[in-house]
Amino acid sequence: MLTTEEILETIKMVQEENLDIRTITMGISLRDCADSDPRAACRKIYAKICRQASKLVQTGDEIAREYGLPIVNKRISVTPIALVAEGSSLEDYLEYARALDRAAEAVGVNFIGGFSALVHKGFTGGDRVLIESIPGALSSTERVCASVNVATSRAGINMDAINLCSRVIKETAELTAEADSVGCAKIVVFANVPEDNPFMAGAFHGVGEPDCVINTGVSGPGVVKSAINRAGDVDLGTLSETVKKIAFKITRMGELVGRTAARRLGVPFGIVDLSLAPTPAVGDSVAEIIEEMGLERCGAPGSTAALALLNDAVKKGGAMASSYVGGLSGAFIPVSEDAGMITSVTDGALTLEKLEAMTAVCSVGLDMVAVPGDTPAETIAAIIADEAAIGVFNHKTTAVRIIPAAGKKVGDQVEFGGLLGQAPVMAVNSFKAEKFVQRGGRIPAPIHSLRN
């Protein structure tokens, strides 16, 4: 039997603590849309997305109202376009990006992910064309998101791919300079990328996935923060228990919404991504959870330990709440999308180096970090390589979403608006890494025994 207290707890989570379903993401395979005639391929892509996702937004809105749970985003992920477009011998894949953008607009979603390539071991012709098309694609479309997987724990780290990606990021920053280089907010460079991630900008529909699938991503940093606050002056074991219990409850909502959406749309249910995804709204911040645990500011000594506790407890509690957990699952620590992280950077508590250390125990990596526009491509490549090394050698997903904001200097602000938020430009270590990254080639996969 439910109690009044339990019912009121749920209502409080939604009304006061910003509990929401962050995204329902429909994964759509475009493998059957490949065609040697690119125009035919784009026609098929547009038609398939519009067919599969025609009711996605409407269904999401209906479920949100019936359950009284906000569903913030309805989105689409597709097969990495490098795989679909490779059969058409084009110089660039802008036509494909535009087809995705038009389809996303037609079905009413704000982002579509999958302008992607998987090059952890090397490039095919199509992979190279796709990556080189990213700056043009992101500066000429609104909704398309790009991602590149440059490393895995099995294949090692592809430095040539990282070098190419860093040049692409710089070029995208220049092409979208008038909008504070917002194009870079839509490129994610991954190590160990998951194939069922529902969160943008890194979502794509992996090759082992079914034709169409529904994945959900939950959120709720505010709920976790309140639970820790209510727990009061307890030891760290009890704190972890508190987070586990609340993560269970949050994840159950993702499971319920995901299963209901999948059934109503007549497609299989994939996974719940049991993430804590912050937004720029006050009280919806992962940094504030860390501060609630007892640190003066996120980024202070102890922040890595606090984040490790949080991330692990979220996974433990969430894993029991869902039959299928996947995606990125854990606590995100983006800078521009988290009011507490922004304050920490502005106050000088959080540096890029500390953030990098924290990514070793968070769910993804260096996310939505703005750096000066004159940061050399080689330095960006080296930052990506460091982050990939953390992922590859610790067998976790890591990623870099970095914005070398054109014309901006340390201390300036960049404004992206909406969920992408705003970020202070952070200082980058100015010593050079050029000679190292320009060696190119691949860093071999790590040994799987002798673990120290």
Partner: protein, 110 residues
């Protein structure tokens, strides 16, 4: 602890949640005044919605009512009912929500 009899609970393993049962939870929160229960129950009766259980309490100075109802034979769907309740809430200066019971079962029952 007030236990609500209308809800069996513990059926959260049910993977067909959402479309199986027609039970909803209506919550009313706000300053106490004459006629809240009458207004809400009249609205439900007008729309052929059966009340299974009511629990009410005063928390701090606020009136809190939780009501379990069955929409099996309801004349409106849940989304329209929410609009009606919301309007009634504004009239009474209280906050009225209606949600499918699965939300609560899923969150609080294994």
């Amino acid at each position: 602890m007030n236990r609500l009899k209308g809800i069996p609970g513990g059926n959260s393993g049910n993977q067909n949640a959402g479309d199986g049962s027609n039970r909803i939870i209506i919550t009313v929160i706000g300053p106490d005044r004459v006629g809240i229960i009458a207004a809400v129950s009249n609205l439900l009766a007008d729309n052929n919605i059966n009340i299974l259980d009511i629990s009410q309490t005063i928390m701090q100075e606020f009136f809190v009512m939780v009501l379990v109802a069955d929409m099996e034979k309801a004349a409106v769907d849940l989304v329209s009912l929410k609009d009606l309740l919301h309007g009634k809430g504004e009239e009474l200066q209280v906050r009225i929500d209606a949600q499918h019971e699965d939300v609560f079962n899923y969150m609080h029952r294994i």
